[in-house]
Symmetry: D2
Subunit: 480 residues, 4 copies
């Protein structure tokens, strides 16, 4: 089957899916004033594949036919570098916002591919073949795929089975000859309102008592009982023109609280169901790929921070001030250390289970931590250089009414810049570092693809501590 | 004259002032959907003075009669501590947002009082008496006062007179027998739309060539030629219920680009006009008081960060996690170091020119820098503990429609907390650390009352370096 | 009894105490080439008390006669401020090194005074009277007192009773009619080799199983069975002239591993023996006083860092460079934040058990953490400004031999400074930030008077979290 | 000519060179108690080349014969990776201390090769051929080479020609038919006392007025007039056994103040003499290579920090404590970010002037800054985990005398570790992070191979700012 066009994609979303936004059922996500922004943003993926300049990067042709590179299972460091470059390209097109409709799904597929054969070997199951079939289905139909992992969790000091309400983690409530029935809810599922399929993964390591929570599967978004409660956060498109929100009026990612009301899943779409000792490995394998996606898609964002600071330093006439150069040096190091570590993580990647190339876990997690830990400081430096006017400037209408526009044109003139252009630059920087969209990016930095603590834990676990201790023992003259 | 009531204050703002918002002239700021939020917020000052519990702190009775404590010129460390406590109280009432309608004006008056006698002594002017008369006028009429200091500046690498357009700094364009005529624009003037008077101060040290820019004065807000262009930023009241924006739907500070279209100022309201060598001292003296106001009013904000983190750690069930306690320790130290330095700056204050008690400049600037430098990291820690749900949660309508509300009630339950209460807590924390209001607070941290660089410069200048060098020379056996 | 002279003090140390240094028994600590440096350093305390300029600060005269202010039990914030000032003065005389021979002992006495009455009330013991008698003995005889608290601990993941060897924490091995017998060892006991008395305190909270480890007492240093194993670290005096080590050739603090070989302690010197639930409170009460001592005595050290940086910036001709001013701003803020928090901790102190004034625990711990956490960065900034020559410069003999001295005099000339003076300045700075003494200060910053973690824990515990949560709940409209 | 043996090397240093140590002329550096430690340390280079396990890495065989890999001019990223690996290996053998006797010289040669052809093209000089001849001489004779770059500088706010004494920067005082005569002094020249040749480079960009200071050349160490004044710093070998200083008793780098008393240099050894506009480029080209050497040789040091922290966490029984794991995560990220950036800098290297492969300047400088900026914090974390005993423990003799040894053996037992082994571990860690050697490493981190500021400047300069600004202008809808 050929790659889908933007129109194919948009049409495929009109399927009766159950989506709510601000308390109202959404009849068509492709025409809804807020949700359609997310659809248009997601279309970038299909548009780029049709662009001759990017075709080589976006599309692969091999024994399985011609298909989106996202669906190529990475087999080498070079595959990882290309995948990273593709994610970076799409996110730059997305105005610093990741597209994600193929990135996250293929991360989940890679993780499931790696673990399922071990599950099969231990339990005599047939998960591996099902994962491969699902992969082929998505690849061949050029689908958009969301992933629901994080459970709503209730009291986080307790495990799934110990919660007052057993539904606070998604779990199997019935096993039937033809499939399973699941109940519960997952929090902040990205791109679900404009995906075709939804992959569900367990959150974490589980004990024997939690075996019903060890469940993984994939279902179409219009599956009965699947309810998507869309987040109301940053509904920019409703309220502002592109003049005020040059990024978020055109680019949006929707999250949902994803409710499973006794949803039936046929066995051919079940990838784990009760093998509790593999819940942790599945969760982890997904994350090993997904954090690499994360560090790849953060690159245009950090580049935009550096570029914004440089642009504003210039128009404000402060590019030569010592403290400004110091902040630029800091921003550049912040951005390029992320790039260097991301590239090196790919280069140092290894082929592991099921022949899947996995980026180096230590470097991926260091890169992700570096990004997440330093993001707010980078934002502060950009705000600092941009000036207070990013939060005290005019609205779009002020520049339309000549009575007010003439003041703004006269008084917002900068170094080698007209008042209008400086205000345009300010509007962009405001949207990037001082808006709801900006706050969203801050929170994503801290929470998306795993928290700061999760990354630190992985750094310690994936480090070769024995070699380091052996080195110092040898130097110290101690037997090792 | 007695203290004004809230109604007196609100009525006083209906005076024909020239205010624009989003390209449209605002006929009455007290009824405008956005601007009235700022008016109601500012009313806190008048309401508190009528509250028996706070009367002693808010009101002073002495030889000048009964008047708002803000108008009391501080004469001792104890006066400074009381002023600080009053500012802290009002800001806590303001939901972490400073009220400012008397704070900033009295900071300017204190600064002008201190410098004007020196100007008079040097130039034979009568500024000191005028400042005193203006002070009595504001005090006796219990007025709300804004201060315009920061010029729009154009190319910041050039001084006022060197700009392409001479109006990029406010300056005297005519001197008449009865007064002066001024032209130019000041950026981000706070509370001007709901003040009664506007004090204008020069921005910085000026040279002989810039003497027309060495100008300070006060005018009523309805003065002809004075145009207030209100910022469109964070117009929350227009779009959200209090449920979604528990802070910013009720509390707002308006900034304006403040344009002086050949505004006439009578001599009795002129406090500096051409004595360029005093422009720097006036700017500095104001800041010495105003940064103390700043560190006082930041205390409820940093307390709210700590309280939010503790509340969310509890409802999320993570209060005992090691990394959470670590972040709490960091947040507490951040908040309480600010409090300790603020208090100590008052205690170490000294009576200086014109008998005005001035908080210790070194400690004030260290406190301000400590606050500003660490703010984003504190925000990150709160976002971290609060969880990703602060940006992926429901809108107000989702909790009104039973069809969606039941999901949210079921799935957002926390440790010892109902789903509704947890969402209410999340909404508050979102407004505090992940909203346009939150971004506004970030930018204010960096820019308001002077930048990080300005504070560092003052730290170096106000430190007794000779004593420190003498100490080490003595220890090193070097002659000092 | 009158205050002791320096000679009285030195003589009192010749008492047959059991001290080892580098494997050899030390017959007389007052004449030993290394240990005598510590004795001379400690004498500062007695010398200052005789100095008319400092008499008022150093000596108190009241109903108990005339005695060293260290022995005054603080009863008010003002007493705490004076005690802090005295400690600061003595440490400045000590070339940034604390004298400690009365500071630490009186911290322990204050802690024991506060807890012992509670022990007595619970257990019907007579500890309180014994502590008072011991206090009077030390005060009236103007004694030097060391405190041994930290046990050697073995495997720190295990409690005292769970260790392979029961002696890894000091414990009671026999209870006799006339007293107790104790065994074990304490690590890094400061000033013990030149003290008259040694107070022993338990390390931490103990369980019922650990009751024999809940022991506190005081003994003279020459008590049979008490063995002091002096540290070999930084034996500067043996190897360098004052020219190379202007600080450490004259100032030294000795630590010992303090071994208790079945030491007998008469009952009148026992302050805790088995009341395990009070071990934690005793340890904590000591620390509440001792960390205040710590932040007081760190002030001359941080002042010296600032002074060194300023002096070197000047002689190197880089005082006007932007990055140098930035580092100075950082160093000043580091030093003065410590001073402000220390002073404010005293001012906010409260009178607590047994009428003892206790500095505010939250501020003390924040100050201590601020100091400890930032010390290495401050050192880096001083090293940076001083230049690489602090580790590549000449030895003392190079300046004595004219053949080499002429090169150094010619080539080490600085801005407004001769080569000799610049080398003298470099030698001081080297000793302060790039020598064994400097490394010792780094390690002390991290470990002395409690670790960074201990301080963070106390910050969280001593903070009024309820008030902060109530504030945000009120703002959020949640019932508290 | 074959590679030299260790003996060949040692013998070659007995040539009558003029070296002073502590005011005395050193007749033979290979037998001097301090200087011979540096000689033995340097011998590592020759010993490794003879070791079959490392032969492939250490030795190259090509058209120029068989020679040390250091002398291979890098022509590709792979050559850079191998050079980096070799430097890492040698430094690990050196107990964290770089060997440097070929590293720095070949960095200078690479820099000179790259710039000299441009000088020749501009000025018609023959420098390029001379540099090549000198390179062949060093390579074919397997020589040890030092580099003197940093001038003593006097008042750093003034340029060379503006100093009170014209000799504060090395300069040409005479030009003769057969060569030039130079005078002045260079500060902290590493490995000069045990090198065969000395390359001299200018420090920085120079103006027309400074043309006599634009001088570069190479001379044998025994050249008349060349005086090496060795640093007295950390003369460990004289005073301590290997038991106390397991690193610095065996490994040492000597620095000298290097004086040129009217030294004659024949023209064939002159590489720059008056072409002032090339002084900056030569200085810079050297640094582009030398900072890559630096980040390569820091790897064993940062590995040793991580290994030390892990080893001590284990023996202290605290490896499972949350804060310890947090510090380990930080240390690992610190070390491995350096490694990742170093490797990526090589991989991203480009072939530039004269066909020399140059590591990516941006990544090299970011890596160097990352290392230098974070070093002190890393040291603090190791000190923290190691415990206070690193500065309060025994001397070597304490473990030789059974009377004291039995106490230490009993009381320093750790988790799964005897007292002796724990003390051995502590001794190593003390030497690494709390000794004069440790302080030396701190100062080197800040100053060697360029300061923190120099690295930040290079980060800004080598970044492609235009691309970043173009990206945001495109996103903002501004014409670029």
């Amino acid at each position: 089957m050929p790659l889908r066009s933007v129109d194919d994609y948009v049409r495929s979303l009109r399927d009766g899916r159950t989506v709510f936004f601000r308390g109202a059922r959404v009849p068509d996500v492709t025409t809804h004033p807020v949700m359609s922004v997310a659809v248009r943003h997601a279309s970038i993926d299909y548009r780029l594949a049709e662009d001759a300049r990017h075709r080589d990067l976006c599309v692969v042709r091999d024994a399985d036919g011609e298909y989106s590179r996202y669906y190529q299972i990475p087999r080498s460091p070079d595959d990882l570098l290309k995948r990273s470059a593709l994610i970076e390209l799409a996110t730059a097109e997305g105005g610093t916002l990741v597209v994600l409709i193929k990135e996250i799904g293929t991360d989940a597929i890679a993780g499931l591919l790696r673990v399922s054969s071990a599950v099969d070997a231990t339990h005599g199951t047939k998960y591996s073949a099902r994962v491969k079939a699902f992969h082929a289905h998505c690849r061949d139909n050029d689908l958009a795929v969301a992933v629901a992992q994080t459970d709503v969790k209730g009291d986080r000091s307790l495990g799934p089975a110990a919660q007052a309400d057993p539904d606070l983690y998604v779990h199997v409530v019935d096993r039937r000859p033809d499939g399973i029935v699941v109940r519960g809810a997952k929090a902040h599922t990205s791109v679900s309102t404009n995906a075709n399929e939804l992959i569900v993964l367990p959150t974490r390591a589980l004990s024997e008592a939690d075996r019903d929570y060890a469940v993984s599967f994939a279902i179409p978004i219009d599956t009965p009982g699947l309810v998507l409660l869309a987040s109301a956060y940053d509904s920019t498109a409703l309220r502002g023109s592109e003049a005020e929100h040059p990024i978020s009026a055109r680019h949006k990612m929707m999250e949902t609280t994803t409710v499973f009301n006794d949803v039936f899943v046929p066995w051919e779409r079940v990838f784990l169901a009760g093998e509790h000792e593999f819940a942790g490995p599945v969760a982890l394998a997904f994350v090993e790929h997904h954090r690499f996606t994360a560090i790849s898609y953060k690159l245009p964002l950090v580049d935009a921070l550096v570029g914004s600071a440089m642009m504003m330093a210039e128009v404000n006439g402060i590019a030569r001030a010592g403290h400004v150069r110091d902040k630029l040096a800091h921003l550049i190091s912040y951005a390029e250390t992320l790039r260097g570590l991301t590239r090196y993580a790919a280069i140092a990647g290894k082929v592991r289970e099921a022949g899947v190339a996995v980026p180096d876990t230590l470097y991926v997690n260091m890169a992700k931590y570096h990004f997440a830990h330093g993001y707010h400081e980078a934002v502060r430096n950009v705000q600092d250089i941009a000036g207070g006017a990013i939060v005290t400037g005019p609205g779009a209408e002020d520049l339309e009414n000549p009575e007010t526009a003439r003041y703004y044109e006269k008084y917002y003139v900068g170094r080698g810049t007209s008042g209008r252009d400086r205000l345009k630059a300010l509007a962009f920087v405001r949207n990037l570092v001082a808006s709801e969209f900006a706050a969203y990016q801050e929170v994503l930095a801290v929470h998306a693809e795993g928290s700061l603590e999760a990354e630190k834990q992985m750094v310690v676990r994936s480090y070769d501590g024995k070699a380091a201790v052996a080195l110092v023992k040898r130097m110290a003259g101690l037997s090792t």
